[in-house]
């Protein structure tokens, strides 16, 4: 019998029949978010997904001699916004460094990053989890943000094993990244997934990154280790190549289990990098990592320190295009997801878990609010139609809210009929099914067509009942 791992809600993993001490899994995350900008971090090449190879590459990106980095203002603003949203201290003076290693998709032989003094430090991110898969019991957790740094993305390598060569596309080389480092405050795949999901929502709300994992705009590496309570942290492994939030949870839980099994069998954990194989559902050692890397960090000699200002320190006679004011950015931050949820709960009297679902689907909160505006039905009742009926239809047909054949006004019209008791709720569901076909009919038209109106006329009802009884007698 092996120890039960990963899915345990608490911080410890109880041991099985072996009678060994419980295990405490420890999970930290390094997240790279591609900055949403028109051009790259240090050059004027365009940032775009899926363009012809090497078409979005300047001489600087290709590391041709005689070229110099020029910092993109928008990327700095994106990093400041993100730092503020994550409750960080923004360093008014931050520095750029070179991190050296050789790889075909890194033409310069080094990456410009911020190793010594990054742009933001010491923040926190709050996220929520359901206990025991019941949406009604949610618990809030916090993970500390160690730092956020600006750095360059590398190009892309396509491995052609048949011809024993690598094809290199530098379109992505030099795109701005924000690396968000989360302290090892998480204990399992579910916590990590929830934290990353919340970060994703925050980034999308700020607009600093579109954070679409499928397009590589959000990449997550997990650092995983286990130890016994009261003992020092165990050796950690780094897990890479995780392409979705679902796989993130799986990869972490697998790695926790693997480490526990290894240690309980008397083995040791190597401080190595492992890749997640989504087909097999397991982590495997990555072959190309040759021992411990020495990146020979050095200050980037071509870039002076990055100085940011606030209302107090604003210089008088400087071109304002050259000045970034942290306070100005702070004042203009949009409502973060947590604030939006609170407002939804307060304004409409819906449950907290409802607000989570509303924000979890792109456009669903707006849809809900539009329906509420146009119907007499109370928001507390409307929410059921949105979260159960509408959302399940969308999921069944793999549609986004924007692609919904039923618009807010159509749904509002339908709910009005129901509210005015012109139809029953069973009939309403029937009408919704018909509306879903998107044939352009209004709810009222469908009701008339299918004769779904609730009858009030006593005589008419008597006639129908009598007809039914008569039919029965004839059989």
């Amino acid at each position: 019998q092996r120890a039960v791992a990963g899915s345990a809600r608490g911080r410890t993993v109880p041991a099985g029949d072996s009678g060994l001490a419980p295990w405490v899994p420890v999970v930290g995350l390094e997240i790279h978010a591609q900055i949403s900008s028109n051009s790259k971090l240090f050059s004027g090449s365009q940032v775009q997904f899926a363009a012809p190879p090497n078409s979005l590459v300047s001489f600087f990106d290709a590391s041709l001699p005689g070229t110099l980095p020029v910092l993109n203002r928008r990327c700095v603003e994106a990093a400041v916004m993100t730092g503020l949203a994550l409750n960080c201290s923004i360093n008014k003076k931050s520095l750029f460094d070179r991190k050296h290693y050789f790889y075909a998709d890194l033409p310069a032989g080094y990456q410009i990053t911020q190793q010594r003094v990054p742009i933001a430090v010491n923040g926190s991110l709050s996220y929520s989890l359901c206990i025991d898969n019941k949406m009604s019991q949610m618990v809030t957790k916090t993970v500390r943000i160690k730092q956020i740094q600006l750095e360059q993305d590398s190009g892309k390598s396509l491995h052609d094993d048949t011809r024993s060569q690598t094809l290199v596309d530098l379109n992505r080389a030099g795109v701005g990244l924000m690396e968000v480092v989360m302290e090892p405050d998480m204990c399992c795949g579910e916590e990590a997934a929830a934290a990353v999901r919340e970060l994703q929502l925050i980034l999308q709300t700020l607009g600093s990154s579109q954070a679409v994992m499928a397009e590589g705009q959000l990449r997550v590496d997990a650092n995983v280790s286990v130890h016994h309570p009261g003992e020092p942290y165990g050796v950690r492994t780094e897990v890479k190549n995780i392409n979705s939030i679902r796989f993130l949870a799986k990869a972490i839980d697998y790695e926790i289990e693997r480490q526990i099994e290894e240690l309980e069998n008397g083995g040791t954990i190597l401080n190595e990098t492992r890749a997640f194989d989504s087909k097999l559902g397991c982590t495997v050692p990555m072959r190309d990592k040759e021992g411990k890397q020495d990146y020979r960090f050095m200050p980037e000699p071509n870039l002076p320190p990055l100085i940011l200002y606030d209302a107090k320190s604003l210089p008088a006679n400087m071109n304002h295009q050259q000045v970034i004011n942290i306070d100005w950015i702070h004042e203009r931050l949009p409502d973060l997801p947590s604030v939006k949820r609170e407002k939804l709960v307060e304004q409409y009297g819906i449950l907290p878990e409802h607000s989570f679902t509303l924000l979890n689907e792109d456009g669903l909160a707006e849809f809900f609010e539009n329906v509420v505006k146009q119907t007499q039905m109370k928001p507390k009742k409307v929410i059921g139609w949105i979260l159960q009926d509408l959302l399940s239809y969308l999921k069944q047909h793999s549609l986004t809210v924007k692609e919904s054949p039923v618009s807010p006004i159509l749904l509002a019209d339908l709910l009005n009929l129901l509210e005015k008791e012109e139809i029953s709720s069973t009939a309403a569901k029937q009408v919704l099914a018909e509306l879903w076909k998107g044939e352009g009919k209004t709810p009222l038209e469908i009701v008339k067509e299918q004769k779904l109106q609730l009858l009030e006329d006593q005589k008419e009802l008597e006639q129908i009942c009598q007809a039914v009884i008569d039919r029965q007698e004839n059989e």
Binding site: G44, P52, V57, D61, R74, T166, P299, P304
Partner: protein, 108 residues
């Protein structure tokens, strides 16, 4: 002070240089000795300067697309290409160990 074989191999691996023979290693050792003279300066309580640009203003560029679209020009430099991709070996090719290299054995 001699530079050990392990350090030499480590440096060659990191920087992809080839110290080639005993003369090359001697030159390296002399270079290190020369730089070590810096230790003679008392820097107690002095904040290190890591850039002569430390008082300069870091120029911020507007987020406009002004470069790129020069695939043909860039690929002119490529020894090998496949459909507008640069071609590289499948992975980093490690240098053979120092002891195995002919050039090194010649000079020692």
């Amino acid at each position: 002070q001699k530079v050990s074989v392990e350090v030499l191999e480590h440096l060659e691996h990191l920087a992809l240089v080839d110290f080639r023979d005993a003369e090359g290693v001697e030159r390296l050792q002399k270079a290190i000795q020369f730089a070590d003279q810096l230790h003679e300066v008392n820097t107690d309580g002095v904040e290190p300067m890591d850039s002569v640009l430390e008082d300069r203003c870091l120029y911020l560029r507007e987020d406009d697309v002004t470069e790129g679209n020069c695939t043909k020009e860039l690929l002119e430099n490529a020894k090998e290409k496949v459909e507008e991709y640069f071609v590289a070996p499948p992975g980093n090719i490690p240098l053979p160990k120092l002891g195995e290299r002919e050039t090194f054995l010649q000079g020692s």
